[in-house]
């Protein structure tokens, strides 16, 4: 083949350009630290790089949020620990003063009530604790979970004859705080004792006697209890009339929405049963249920239409009743059902209690924590669960317990303190349960956080091996190209200078 000058030049220039391009790639690699600097250099590595980057971004984001969530749960756990300790202190105090030998002195008990008040305040402080501007136990709301301007009146409890344990009362009892009234001293513990002789209630609020009032003759009875300084500041206390004073005009029992029995007036308490039956907490009526199998449970809805003997407006009262079919008295009334209607009114000597405490203002669910794609964990437990015993709680109102204990201490009543020990223990157990729940959540989130850390390290390593430049390789390559350029330049010089022209002279 003939070789021309142009061929030699072109070949030299082409080779030099190629080396220069290689040099530029090496320069880019050394500057950026990346083996791949544009998609076309290695499309597959680019694809992997982008996928790794997306995964890494997700993992880093999750890691960040789980670390913050871990801190939040940790803070919550520490507050719950403090609450549990407070409950144990309250329990210890109740055990000490519920024993008449140790805590019989009302003055000492009054003095010790300040401890209970401080427990209440500790709880209030702990449960309203905030982190990052949001309450730890607000359940997805920024509002302070418990605020002494937002109050609730607890369900009324009864101690029969003012002795023994606390019992729930029927649905007829209810206390309501008058609108706009904010007691100066919180929490409030109210105790009322009923005397059938003169049909009166004697009232005590936080150890201070507030006098007595006559029970109303209407059914249900309603009485306004003046507690505040201004007129109208207090509670409305509603109560059902005693079964002895009530005549049941019409009663039906229904199951699944279908009436299955109608009680005749003869079945009214006091008519079929001895009057002593009314002394129990269960007022019973009887009806024939042809389909009932003796011994079986029946979920019934008892509907009583009641009116006082003296007449007046009929009152409708409904209650879910678990009745038991049983064989009874009369041969003609086999398969009869006793229905616990719980409509009994106050009995002589009965003590009724209720408390006025802050009401939970937060939500029912806390911020979930995202732990991986498509999966979340629950966040903190709510103030509602902790203090009012909702959802994961045991249905115990801690503030009510502390208010009641304080009230009992202020009243110097060792038996009342004694009676409250059970609910204090339940309260402690409730806090303990939620402590456990929080602990488990902390462990879960912490474990996820650790896993994410490992994922991050793995992904970072994968990314590095996929697209980062090996500097040793880059330098070696650069050296190689540099040498190649040197050789090429000198060779070209020789080739291009080597001409017959040199010999023509």
């Amino acid at each position: 083949m003939r070789v021309t000058q142009n061929m030699l030049f072109r070949s030299g220039v082409y080779a030099m350009q190629e080396r220069s391009q290689d040099m530029m790639v090496v320069q880019e690699q050394s500057v950026s630290g990346n083996r791949v600097n544009r998609p076309s250099e290695d499309p597959t590595a680019t694809y992997r790089h982008l996928m790794f980057s997306a995964d890494l971004s997700g993992v880093q984001s999750l890691k960040k949020t789980t670390v913050m969530a871990t801190e939040r749960i940790k803070a919550a756990e520490s507050n719950i620990d403090a609450m549990y300790d407070t409950m144990l202190s309250a329990q210890e105090l109740a055990l000490q003063y519920g024993n008449s030998f140790v805590g019989g002195d009302p003055e000492i008990m009054k003095a010790a009530s300040t401890n209970v008040f401080s427990y209440y305040q500790d709880f209030l402080k702990n449960v309203n604790q905030e982190m990052d501007g949001i309450p730890l136990f607000g359940g997805g709301r920024t509002i302070s979970p418990f605020d002494e301007t937002k109050l609730t009146v607890t369900d009324i409890q009864r101690r029969s004859k003012n002795v023994g344990d606390f019992q729930d009362v029927s649905s007829g009892f209810q206390a309501t705080l008058s609108s706009g009234y904010l007691p100066k001293e919180l929490p409030l513990s109210v105790k009322m004792i009923y005397a059938s002789v003169d049909n009166t209630f004697t009232v005590n609020v936080n150890g201070v006697d507030k006098g007595s009032f006559s029970a109303s003759a209407t059914d249900p009875g309603s009485w306004f209890l003046q507690v505040g300084e201004k007129s109208g500041e207090g509670f409305t206390f509603q109560y059902p009339m005693s079964g002895l004073q009530t005549a049941m005009k019409n009663s039906t029992a229904s199951a699944d929405g279908t009436d299955i029995a109608t009680f005749s007036s003869e079945a009214v308490n006091g008519s079929k049963f001895a009057s002593t039956a009314a002394q129990t907490n269960i007022d019973a009526v009887q009806a024939v249920l042809a389909q009932a199998v003796p011994g079986s449970d029946l979920n019934l809805l008892a509907t009583n239409m009641m009116a006082a003997d003296t007449g007046g407006t009929l009152t409708r009262e409904e209650a879910d009743v678990l009745a038991k079919a049983t064989v009874t008295y009369a041969t003609s009334r086999e398969d009869a059902v006793f229905i616990a209607a719980n409509t009994i009114g106050p009995q002589n000597g009965d003590a009724f209690y209720f408390e006025v405490v802050p009401k939970y203002q937060g939500g029912t669910q806390d911020r979930s924590i995202k732990v991986m794609n498509g999966r979340t964990l629950s966040g903190n437990v709510t103030g509602g669960e902790l203090i009012e015993g909702t959802q994961n709680g045991r249905g115990v109102n801690i503030f009510s317990i502390l208010a009641g204990l304080r009230g009992a201490m202020l009243r110097g009543d060792t038996t009342e303190v004694q009676a409250r020990i059970n609910e204090i223990q339940n309260g402690a157990q409730q806090i303990s349960d939620l402590q456990g729940v929080t602990g488990v959540r902390y462990t879960q989130v912490d474990s996820v956080s650790n896993t994410l850390e490992t994922d991050e390290a793995n992904l970072t390593e994968s990314m590095a091996s996929n697209s980062e430049a090996d500097l040793y390789e880059v330098l070696s390559h650069m050296q190689q190209i540099s040498q190649s350029l040197d050789v090429l330049a000198s060779t070209q010089r020789e080739i291009l200078n080597n001409s017959i022209l040199n010999y023509l002279n």
């Binding site: 000058q5 142009n6 061929m7 250099e41 984001s61 960040k64 949020t65 997805g140 029912t364 794609n373």
Partner: protein, 603 residues
């Protein structure tokens, strides 16, 4: 035979050597002239006359170009492909830079950053800084996408301008070729038009690198040029075609190309050359069914709709008293929604068909039959559930009237043609769920605005007040059959749901391509990584093909050079050779003169 014959023979030798030296000189002078074909002198012995058997010296029989027609043909054919690949490579490199994610400052990192900010927001949904950060992340994403669109469309514009320039170049080349060819034909009658043929070859090569052509050599020395598909470009030195931009628009929205006043189907009729490369860049790489802008638009459509679907079912830190949709409802509220033409789709309507642009909201055809449930009430704890059934076979007006019928909630259209939801005085509301996508399509509670990558933006209401960003979801007692609803202002399920959008697998389709699915079903990141990876492969493939083609061309050029190129060594040797023959002929003259003097001396 006389001494004067001897002088004549010597003279012929001198003249021939002089001509040969002229040719060598011409060759040396053109050693660096592109396309020059070395010329060689062909000597021919002058035969003896009829009275003698001794020859009469030498003649220049011919001065020939050293060319190989086949090699030249292959070079022209190869230059078309090289031109195509070069044009593509130049723009592919520019476009690749738009998708270069290796510097961690591209769309992928912004997408990740936007969704990561959602996770941060979920951690503390009431933090105003987190909200502002998320809105800023959305803006950064939208701005970057707009910038990508701008760069890509601005790349298409110079490509189109270059196409126009190239058409002018082709016309000029054809015109020059026509006149040069005519000169060659007329010159060839008297003798070879050596250098003119080189010039013509050079013009043909230039033309061949712009558009794929085939050349026919005619007996009279002229040529005929056709496109490889058979369109006549140059005929018998008499006719040269004229290319121009036509009045018709292509699918990409650019003016077409006509040849001699007739529309030229560039897709089918142009197969190579820089023109083809530019057309491919404009109509296939940037625009077109699988163009990067089309793919980007599909991604943007999905990001916008999927994000808006979730955000339209969230509530901000406070419930809403009023919300305004971000999309223009279009000019037809009384046609069934599923029969509307969404913006910016182009469709042909009427007889004869006229291309029109849709006016309905971009996502209107994504609305499906479903239930839209609101919570309306005076505060977070006193909310009532209200549901309406959205039916895409009903009109926008009818569906809005359904919402307007909800107690405490009003649906109207404002002066800007946007849907406005307003609660009665003392009432607030929020969207509990929307299985129809109606709220997102109308832009209520939307994060992203626009209809594609060209105008993607962020809801102005969110930019003005990031606290409006919806991070909470309304809490219902039973998601499948809700009867009770409450609102928790620090609820983070809205933010969590928005964060999960990046994990959702979508089908990426474009209505303007009749719902053609682009790429595989997957997450945004997967789709984009695939898109970038495949584009990288396209660039790489083109680059490799170009390198291969350049090597092939380089080989052919070397081959041509070895046949037609000037070798200085060779020419210098020839120089010595002809110099010597000239000297020898001179010596012969001198000898003849001596002989002559001898004879004169004898007298």
């Amino acid at each position: 035979m006389s001494i004067s014959d001897l002088l004549n023979v010597s003279k012929m030798g001198l003249l021939s050597s002089q001509s040969a030296l002229m040719t060598v000189s011409h060759n040396i002078a053109n050693v660096n002239t592109a396309g020059y074909s070395r010329q060689t002198v062909e000597f021919q012995a002058r035969s003896a006359n009829k009275h003698s058997s001794i020859g009469n010296g030498v003649d220049i029989a011919n001065v020939a170009r050293s060319v190989d027609a086949l090699v030249d043909k292959r070079i022209i054919a190869g230059s078309a492909e090289e031109g195509r690949l070069e044009a593509r490579d130049r723009y592919l490199t520019i476009i690749e830079n738009v998708f270069n994610e290796m510097d961690k400052d591209g769309l992928a990192s912004r997408l990740d950053s936007f969704f990561s900010s959602m996770d941060g927001l979920a951690d503390n949904p009431t933090n105003p800084v987190s909200r502002a950060d998320t809105v800023a992340g959305a803006e950064s994403l939208a701005n970057h996408i707009q910038k990508m669109h701008q760069t890509l469309s601005e790349t298409a514009l110079p490509v189109d301008q270059e196409i126009s320039g190239m058409i002018d170049d082709i016309n000029t080349l054809l015109s020059n070729l026509k006149s040069l060819d005519a000169t060659i034909v007329s010159r060839e009658v008297t003798g070879p038009a050596l250098d003119l043929k080189d010039q013509r070859h050079d013009l043909v090569s230039q033309l061949g690198s712009l558009i794929d052509i085939s050349v026919l050599q005619m007996d009279n020395g002229g040529i005929q040029v056709f496109t490889s598909h058979g369109q006549k470009l140059l005929m018998d030195s008499q006719f040269s075609a004229t290319l121009a931009r036509s009045g018709q628009t292509t699918e990409s929205g650019f003016a077409g190309i006509e040849i001699n006043g007739t529309e030229f189907d560039t897709t089918d009729f142009v197969k190579g050359g820089k023109l083809k490369g530019l057309l491919e860049v404009r109509d296939e790489v940037i625009y077109g069914k699988e163009g990067v802008l089309t793919q980007l638009d599909a991604l943007v459509d999905e990001i916008r709709f999927q994000t808006n679907v979730v955000s339209s079912q969230t509530v901000s830190e406070t419930m809403y008293k009023s919300q305004t949709g971000v999309f223009d409802l279009g000019n037809d509220l009384n046609t069934a929604m599923n029969a509307l033409i969404p913006y910016p789709e182009l469709v042909k309507v009427g007889t004869p068909p006229v291309q029109v642009k849709g006016t309905a909201p971009a996502d209107v055809l994504r609305v499906t039959a479903g239930t839209l449930t609101f919570a309306v009430g005076k505060d977070a704890d006193h909310l009532k559930l209200e549901s309406v059934e959205i039916d895409p076979s009903r009109t926008l007006q009818e569906n809005m009237e359904e919402i307007d019928a909800i107690s405490g909630l009003n649906a109207t259209v404002d002066a800007n043609n946007r849907l406005v939801l307003t609660a009665d005085s003392g009432t607030q509301y929020g969207v509990v769920s929307d299985s129809s996508g109606f709220m997102a399509a109308m832009g209520i509670g939307a994060i992203f605005t626009g209809s594609g990558s060209s105008d993607m933006g962020v809801n102005e209401a969110l930019i003005a007040d990031p606290d409006q960003f919806g991070v909470a979801k309304l809490t219902v007692d039973d998601p499948t059959n809700p009867t009770k609803v409450t609102f928790n202002n620090a609820d983070n399920r809205g933010a969590l749901a928005l964060g999960r959008v990046r994990e959702r697998e979508s089908k990426f389709t474009l209505d303007s391509y009749k719902g053609t699915q682009l790429g595989s079903e997957g997450t945004f990141s997967f789709y984009y990584a695939t898109m970038v990876g495949l584009f990288g492969a396209t660039v790489s493939r083109n680059s490799e093909a170009l390198t291969t083609q350049q090597s092939a061309q380089s080989f052919l050029t070397d081959l041509r050079d070895s046949i037609s190129g000037v070798s200085l060594e060779e020419e210098l040797t020839e120089l010595i050779r002809f110099q010597q023959s000239f000297q020898a002929s001179s010596k012969m003259v001198s000898s003849a003169d001596d002989l002559f003097q001898t004879i004169i001396g004898m007298v």
